[in-house]
Subunit: 173 residues, 2 copies
DNA sequence: CATTAACCTGAGGCCGGGATTCCGCTTGAC
DNA sequence: GTCAAGCGGAATCCCGGCCTCAGGTTAATG
């Protein structure tokens, strides 16, 4: 693969990631191309279709999140600390967007497993935090995840914006 | 106007309101018609186009909210109480959706004034709550409004769901 | 630097879905 | 009973987004 091609591929992925995070998964291929300063044709040279691009980004993002979360969870720090770290890591990511908003059913073989594992890990974390007394206990762990999903995984979210802060404080015991 | 026509008009508005609140403003005319048990043609008998329907609902909703909020603000109760009431009144309303999501620029003559007044009222409320010490003070009043706008005015929000609860608690001093 | 395979561009074809129209059939009102 | 007001929903129009492809560019190599 030529050097410029490799560079462009990377550029496409990061640009698309940004746009998805900022505006949701309905961003058109044209917009991505324009933002990346490329022609649409180039996108199609690297990804057979929109779905493939979406999927690559989704899987990639979830895998990074998984890695990050596993590492954070392995530490000895209080579960609350870990939760906060993960939340901050999540804010602004296009989490779930690719899957939820592109109407196409999941097709990448890794996605289901990844999701299952992430969910399990987060629920574990939430439960742990409740046990150590730092996370309010009137919300079931699974609901904490769902809530964070709505709150943090929104277009334009940032780790330090007011809403994220308020939600974290609201979750504190 | 014939009695059945009047009834249908009302039915269209309430059905559309529900659907917008539940799924956002991108609900199609067909969906609204189906949900109301009417033909699309009937929608167009009552509203010249989609935009008109959206606008009627937007203005109507904002006016009710204005009325409600004015009344609540006039009470002697603590500002926090008032804020909570208003928030609960808002949860699930299609607030802002009509304006934000339909790409058409505002055209109804009442909308700009309504928005300005509502904003002013809410900012007033937030400021009052901060002064009485019930609302955290590290968030500017205008940001409180913006934050609530993101948090409460989302499709499917309900006054007693976990996210609303958490946000209210997170805003508490 | 000449050669060439790999790349890139972006206008245009195609299509799906959603808005809007329209005409024959119904129904409330008098 | 009459008929204007209403209604239904298939047909049509239209927009906007996905994807293709012919023609020009460029990195890599000897």
């Amino acid at each position: 693969m030529r050097a410029d091609a490799r560079r462009n591929r990377e550029l496409i992925v990061t640009t698309a990631l940004d746009l998805f995070a900022e505006h949701g998964a309905r961003v058109s291929m044209e917009e991505i191309a324009r933002a990346a300063g490329l022609g649409v044709g180039t996108l199609y040279r690297h990804f057979p279709d929109r779905q493939a691009l979406l999927e690559e980004i989704a899987v990639d993002t979830l895998q990074r999140l998984m890695t990050f979360s596993r590492a954070a969870a392995a530490e000895e720090t209080p579960r609350w600390q870990v939760l906060r770290l993960v939340v901050e890591h999540c804010a602004g990511l296009p989490l779930g967007l690719a899957k939820t908003l592109s109407s196409t059913p999941i097709s990448h073989p890794e996605l289901p497993r990844l999701e299952r594992d992430l969910n399990a890990l987060f629920e574990q974390l939430a439960k742990g935090a409740q046990e150590e007394g730092t996370l309010r206990e009137d919300i079931p762990p699974s609901e904490v995840i769902a809530l964070l999903n709505v709150a943090i995984c929104r277009p334009g979210a940032r780790a330090d914006d007011y809403l994220t802060t308020v939600i974290l404080d609201g979750l504190r015991r």
